[in-house]
Structure formats: structure tokens, C-alpha cells
């Protein structure tokens, strides 16, 4: 049996107070998983630990069967991270940025050039491909960051609020790219405050409150859990209020 795309066991992290407590989570290969929760619930902390940006206090992280804490380099090879604040270099052009990312992930140059140009076209960045990113809008920067995440053909894409601040057109492009990737077998984990996006795109949804995973399942399973046919927004508010952590 093949390993799941991501398996978290007893994941725990505290700063001045516990932020993530004993999280167990399994995400299958090729799954689109949405992680929801009120502000400060611990969503970003979980994802940053999975991406190797934070060290957990306790617990285990397995990415496609690779122990990410014991062998972070191997785990990072198949993973891509996109944060809510697109981190790109002001003084590199999108093509130069993708060239750099391809170098870091050791993508074969001819393939990197082909994928980079394909992504540039796909995300509508062609007219700006040779302009420095310094003058770009938030939406354009987010698209450059997303292209960077995809240029090395990752099997697990982790996105923290990728649609925040994007206009309708840019948001649509990003959503289309992600759905296309899932169709081709890539696993996507995404946090979002836009519940309609989770409702429409995610195959399974996890709800985090107070650092704990309070509910998980498909939309139908979550509806079943609260016992009425309603929207994800109602389900979310109900689950969170039960935990005493109103959004």
C-alpha cells in the first residue's frame, strides 16, 4: 500500500502558549484538502511545520512516507510552499525568479525553461515576464510565487491563504491551476477564510480551533455531524462556537 501524501501524528507546538496541540491528520495522494479555522487557530503554524519552516515540539510529519523531521531535504524535494505574503525578489524578473527556483530544486534546465514559459503563459504573466517584480501588484506577485511553486513539479503543494487580496480574475486563474494539478494527481493543502472556495474546491475539509482538529471529513460528513442540511459557513460557525472559540 502506498504511503499517504501527508501524515501528521501528535503534532504539537507552543510559543508563549500552546498553539498546536496533538494534531493527527492523514491526507491521501491526489486529494484537495482545505484547512479552516478562525484567526489564531493554528492553521498557519501547522502548515509551516509541514513545510519545514518551524520545528514541532513533539510529533511526527511524514510526506509520501518520508520522515520530514529526520530527512527534511528529501521531504522538501517533493513539496512546494506558497504563503499569503508572496515572497519574491523585487529586483528579479519572473523568468529570472523561476530560473533561480529551478536551480534550487535542480530541475533539468531544458525542462525548467519549458515549464517556466508554460506557467508564465498560463498565469497571464507573459507581458511582464522581463520586468522587475518590484512594481507588480499583489495579484501578480502571488501568481509569480505560484509559478515558482509549480516550476519544480511538486507532488504536495501547501498554500496559506493564497487567494487573499487577489482580484476575481487572478483568483480564478489560481483556482484553475490548483484544480488542474489535483486532476493530474498532485496533492493540495490550502488554508482559506473564503468558505465558498473550500466548499466548491476541496474534497475534504478540516476545521481547526484552539490548536486542535475539531472536525474533519467531506462536506456531506460535516453536515451529518451537525445534523442539518446547511452551508459550510453555518457548519463552520457551529463547530467553532462549540469549541468556545468564536471567529
Amino acid at each position: 500500500m502506498s504511503s499517504p501524501a501527508l501524515a501528521l501524528r501528535g503534532l504539537t507546538k507552543a510559543f508563549d502558549r500552546p498553539v498546536v496541540e496533538n494534531i493527527d491528520l492523514t491526507i491521501a495522494r491526489g486529494e484537495f484538502y482545505a484547512l479552516l479555522g478562525p484567526n489564531g487557530a493554528g492553521k498557519t503554524t501547522i502548515l509551516r511545520m509541514v513545510a519545514g519552516l518551524l520545528k514541532p515540539d513533539a510529533g511526527a510529519i511524514s510526506i509520501f512516507g518520508i520522515d520530514a523531521l529526520a530527512d527534511p531535504v528529501a521531504a522538501k524535494q517533493v513539496t512546494a510552499w506558497v504563503s499569503d505574503e508572496p515572497m519574491v525578489y523585487d529586483r528579479l524578473t519572473p523568468l529570472e525568479y523561476l530560473d533561480f527556483v529551478a536551480g534550487l530544486w535542480q530541475v533539468e534546465p531544458r525542462r525548467a525553461a519549458a515549464v517556466a514559459n508554460e506557467l508564465i503563459d498560463w498565469l497571464g504573466l507573459r507581458p511582464h515576464a522581463n520586468e522587475l517584480c518590484g512594481g507588480f501588484s499583489k495579484g501578480m506577485l502571488q501568481k509569480v510565487a505560484l509559478a515558482g511553486a509549480l516550476v519544480h513539479d511538486p507532488q504536495l503543494i501547501i498554500l496559506d491563504e493564497p487567494l487573499t487580496g487577489l482580484d476575481a480574475g487572478s483568483a480564478r486563474q489560481v483556482k484553475d491551476v490548483l484544480l488542474d494539478k489535483v486532476r493530474s494527481g498532485v496533492t493540495v493543502i490550502m488554508t482559506t477564510h473564503i468558505l465558498e472556495v473550500a466548499e466548491r474546491m476541496a474534497q475534504r475539509i478540516g476545521v481547526i480551533a484552539g490548536g486542535r482538529l475539531v472536525a474533519e471529513g467531506t462536506l456531506a460528513e460535516l453536515r451529518q455531524r451537525i445534523g442539518r442540511e446547511t452551508t459550510l459557513e453555518e457548519i463552520f460557525l457551529d463547530l467553532v462556537s462549540q469549541q468556545g472559540a468564536a471567529p
Binding site: 513545510a51 519545514g52 519552516l53 518551524l54 520545528k55 531535504v73 528529501a74 522538501k76 524535494q77 513539496t79 512546494a80 510552499w81 504563503s83 515572497m87 519574491v88 525578489y89 523585487d90 529586483r91 528579479l92 524578473t93 523568468l95 529570472e96 523561476l98 530560473d99 533561480f100 527556483v101 529551478a102 536551480g103 534550487l104 530544486w105 535542480q106 534546465p109 531544458r110 525548467a112 525553461a113 517556466a116 511582464h128 515576464a129 522581463n130 520586468e131 522587475l132 517584480c133 518590484g134 512594481g135 507588480f136 501588484s137 510565487a145 515558482g148
Partner: protein, 511 residues
């Protein structure tokens, strides 16, 4: 007292509150107790400066203070040096009035007149310039007022006039740059002009002193017999600021009034365009980016090479680096002249040249290392890339040291042609100074954006002090080795001790 909203005093109070909170936050970094520590420490240093001023001025006072030509030339020269630095600082501050984005959107979108906020901010720059200058000269002025009479307090009036004149010139230059080169380039060019004015005058008179064989001192030109002989008589109006600074109270009032009147006039002339220019400056992110010929070659590369290439590409496009390199080149002009003038006349000149080069390499390496190691705009990207952290750091350090080597190599060849031993000493000490500065930046690394560069010295005083002390000590080692002194080991040992202390006090590395 309640002030009417939108009036000049209301804006002034708002600015004062923000300035005070910025200042307190810079000193305390969130811990209020530190403010007392800084206050007590500051008072002790201030008292010490008064003591030094007393022992410096007392012999002059005992010898009789006469406003003769020699004294007037010296006072005017020193005043010009001080004013050049003031003008440089004013130019920097004035560009911030136009480019500081924080609350300009709010203010410019409100129904208040932008001219009022401009007048308040321009006045604030003048007051800040005056206060900083006053703090610097106050030990001298206080001692002079005590031993030679309160008329010396008029120096503060002269300073107010000079500060106002500096800000007026800075405003005019900034406005001119907006007209000539547009909002995208104005800030960058203003920074370069500020750097040239700040360093250029000092370096210029040093160069004149060297060429006229007066020595290496900045003040030797003002003590030169030729200059004194050629200067106008003491009754000339040219000496009005010098007379004013030396206790002529009516002259001091006239200088202050003239400076303030010019500033008021320039503010009145430049204020109407403020809203338009500030909007253009803060709206730069909406302006189409600069097109570049693509250099994304997608060539076969190792992770190491990819990182180094990225660092070099970013450093090459960094405006700070450009202005800093220009400054370093300017600072190297006097020692280069010294070598040229003394070429073939023995190695005496190298005792001066070696420490300057060593110090310059240490300082440049420290700045470059911060930009490469801490100023990582895509920290998450690099941290999530499949390579060990050690590889990332090694590549960044290599990128810095290679640049230093490229800058230093031609100078070393030039020195080597004259004296091979001196070239070896310079190369060794400059290498050690650069390596030490890089190591300190590595130990004190933080996660920051490159645009935070200007605040790096505030963010870690321990790193800044260690870097400066280390560079000074390696420069001292270089000078003593150049002089053939066996005491050279002492500053080298102190430099190593500084590094040891820096390693001990450096924070634990983040993940």
C-alpha cells in the same frame, strides 16, 4: 488643551507624538526599562564630553581668544565641514517626507490641505537637524559660555540658521530632481548626492592637503599659511557666520533670521506641489516595472551556483550597494593620492593607506553580508528548498567574499608593484577584516527584507559595535604590521577577542 483639527499646531502635535514613539521604540525595542538605562548612560557620556571639551578649550582661552584671520579661517572651515554633513542628513530626511508611505494615503485622501502637513514635516526636519547638531556642539558651547561669557550661546542661533538653510537647499534639490528625473529616480539620486556631499567635502580637502604636501589631516588646509594669507581681511562679510559662532550675538541673530527666512520662502514655494509629488512617489508600485533583457538562461547549475548567481544579480541591482560603493571609492581617493604622490619615495605612506583599505573592506563586507544573509526577500522559498541550511549560508558567504576580492584585487596589484610586503599585509588584514564582519553578520542573522537595510544598525547594536570594533582592530593590526612593529599582535588579539564576545552574545540560530 484642545487644538482645532487640521490646523498646523494639530498636525505638529500629531507628528511630535509619532516621532517620540518611534524614538522610544527604537531605544527600548518594547522594554520600557531600557529608556532609563539609555537616559542615565546618555547623561554620563554627555558629562564626559563636557569634561573633554573643558580640557580642549581651556588652553585656547588662556592663550587669549582673538578673532584674527587664522582663527576665522579655522572656524569657518570647521563650520563648513559640519554644514556639509548637516546638508547631507537634511537631503536624506527630506526625501523621506516625500517617500514615507505609512500615513500619506490617509492624509492625502482626507479633506485636509496637504500643504499643512508638508510645512509641519519640513519644519520637523529642520528642528531635528538643529537638535542633533546642537547635541553635538553643546559640550563645546556650554564650556565656552562658562569660561568666556553667555554670548557664545549664540552658536545655537548660527546652527539654527545653518540647519534651516540645509533643509531649504535639500527641498529645492529634491524638487529639482522630481522635475528632472521623475519620482522613480529622485530618491535614489538624492541618496547618492547626500552621500557625495557628506563625504565629498571632507575627502576633497583631505585630497588638497595631500597634493599640497600639507599631510593627511582634514584641518591642515585651514591651517595652511598660503590659505590664511589669501583669505579676506577679518572685517569682511565672508566671516559673518564665523564671527556669529564666536560670540557675536547680533551676527548670530542675523544668520539665524536669514536661514529661517530662506526656509520659510522655500516651504511656501514647494508646498503647493507636495500633494501631487507625494502621490506620484507613493504610487510607484502602480507604475509599470522597468523592462530588462531576460537573463534567465536556464543553464545547468548546482544549487550552490544558483544561490551565488542570485545574490550577485540582486547585489548588482541594489541602489544601496551602488551608493555605498561610490562612497568607498570616494574614501579611497585620498589614500590613492597619497600613494601616487609618494610613489617610489619609500613605504611611509602605506602606514596610512593600509588601515584605510582594511577598514573599508570590513565595512563593505559587513553591509554586503547583511544584504546577502539577513536581507532575504524570499526567506520561505529558500528555507523550503531541498538543500541543507549550511549550503545556503556557505553560498551566500562565498558571494560576499568574492565581491570583496574583486574590489580589492586591482588595488593590491597596484600596491604590490610598489611594495610586495605591503600588498601582502593589506591583503591579509583586509581579508581577515572582511571575514570577521561576515562572520558577525552570520551569527547575528535575522529574517528581514532587503528594504530594512537602513535599520539594521538599530536592530542589533551588538552586531554593529562588534563589526566596527573588529574592523578598527584589524585596521590597527594592518597599520602596525605596515610600520614593522611587533605590537601588531595586540590589536589582532583584541579583534579575535571581539569576535569571541560577539559569538557568545549572538542569539541562538533560528530553524
Amino acid at each position: 488643551m484642545t487644538l482645532a483639527a487640521g490646523t498646523l499646531p494639530w498636525f505638529a502635535r500629531h507628528e511630535l507624538l509619532l516621532a517620540w514613539r518611534d524614538f522610544a521604540a527604537m531605544l527600548t525595542r518594547g522594554r520600557k526599562g531600557r529608556l532609563w538605562g539609555f537616559a542615565i548612560g546618555g547623561l554620563l557620556v554627555y558629562a564626559l564630553l563636557h569634561l573633554i571639551a573643558w580640557y580642549t578649550i581651556r588652553p585656547w582661552q588662556l592663550g587669549g581668544m582673538v578673532a584674527d584671520k587664522q582663527t576665522l579661517v579655522l572656524v569657518s572651515g570647521m563650520g563648513l565641514l559640519f554644514w556639509a554633513v548637516t546638508l547631507s542628513q537634511a537631503l536624506e530626511s527630506v526625501t523621506r517626507v516625500y517617500y514615507a508611505r505609512a500615513d500619506l494615503d490617509l492624509i492625502l485622501s482626507s479633506p485636509t490641505s496637504p500643504q499643512r502637513i508638508f510645512a509641519v514635516r519640513a519644519a520637523a526636519v529642520a528642528i531635528t537637524t538643529w537638535v542633533l547638531g546642537a547635541l553635538l556642539i553643546s559640550p563645546l558651547v556650554t564650556v565656552l559660555a562658562i569660561i568666556a561669557g553667555p554670548a557664545w550661546l549664540g552658536a545655537y542661533l548660527v546652527l539654527a540658521g545653518l540647519a534651516a538653510l540645509s533643509v531649504a537647499i535639500a527641498l529645492a534639490v529634491t524638487l529639482l530632481l522630481f522635475r528632472l528625473v521623475g519620482p522613480r529616480q529622485t530618491r535614489f539620486i538624492a541618496q547618492i548626492i547626500a552621500a557625495i556631499i557628506g563625504a565629498g567635502f571632507i575627502i576633497g580637502i583631505q585630497a588638497v592637503a595631500i597634493l599640497s604636501h600639507e599631510g593627511f589631516s582634514r584641518l591642515s588646509v585651514f591651517q595652511s599659511e598660503d590659505v590664511i594669507a589669501a583669505a579676506p581681511e577679518p572685517s569682511s562679510l565672508v566671516w559673518l557666520p564665523a564671527h556669529a559662532a564666536m560670540g557675536d550675538f547680533p551676527a548670530a541673530t542675523l544668520v539665524a533670521a536669514t536661514g529661517l527666512a530662506i526656509l520659510a520662502g522655500v516651504i511656501a514655494l514647494t508646498a503647493p506641489s507636495y500633494g501631487r509629488l507625494a502621490t506620484a512617489a507613493t504610487g510607484l508600485s502602480h507604475i509599470r516595472g522597468q523592462r530588462r533583457r531576460s537573463r534567465a538562461a536556464f543553464r545547468p547549475t548546482t544549487q550552490h551556483q544558483a544561490l551565488r548567481r542570485k545574490e550577485w544579480r540582486l547585489l548588482q541591482r541594489d541602489p544601496w550597494l551602488l551608493s555605498q560603493t561610490l562612497m568607498q571609492i570616494l574614501y579611497l581617493v585620498p589614500p590613492a593620492l597619497l600613494i601616487w604622490v609618494n610613489y617610489g619615495a619609500g613605504s611611509g605612506a602605506f602606514i596610512v593607506v593600509v588601515p584605510v583599505l582594511v577598514m573599508a573592506c570590513g565595512q563593505l563586507a559587513g553591509g554586503l553580508a547583511w544584504l546577502a544573509i539577513s536581507g532575504e526577500d524570499a526567506h520561505d522559498l529558500v528555507a523550503t528548498a531541498p538543500l541543507p541550511r549550511g549550503t545556503v549560508l556557505r553560498a551566500k558567504v562565498e558571494a560576499v567574499l568574492v565581491i570583496i576580492a574583486i574590489v580589492l584585487a586591482p588595488i593590491l596589484v597596484f600596491i604590490g608593484l610598489a611594495d610586495l610586503r605591503m600588498a601582502l599585509v593589506t591583503g591579509l588584514c583586509a581579508g581577515l577584516s572582511a571575514a570577521a564582519a561576515t562572520a558577525i553578520q552570520l551569527w547575528f542573522r535575522v529574517t528581514a527584507r532587503r528594504s530594512m537595510f537602513r535599520r539594521r544598525q538599530v536592530a542589533s547594536r551588538a552586531a554593529t559595535l562588534s563589526e566596527a570594533f573588529s574592523s578598527i582592530m584589524w585596521a590597527g593590526t594592518g597599520a602596525l604590521l605596515a610600520a614593522g612593529s611587533s605590537v601588531a599582535l595586540l590589536p589582532a588579539l583584541i579583534a579575535l577577542a571581539v569576535l569571541g564576545v560577539a559569538r557568545l552574545v549572538a542569539p541562538k540560530s533560528p530553524i
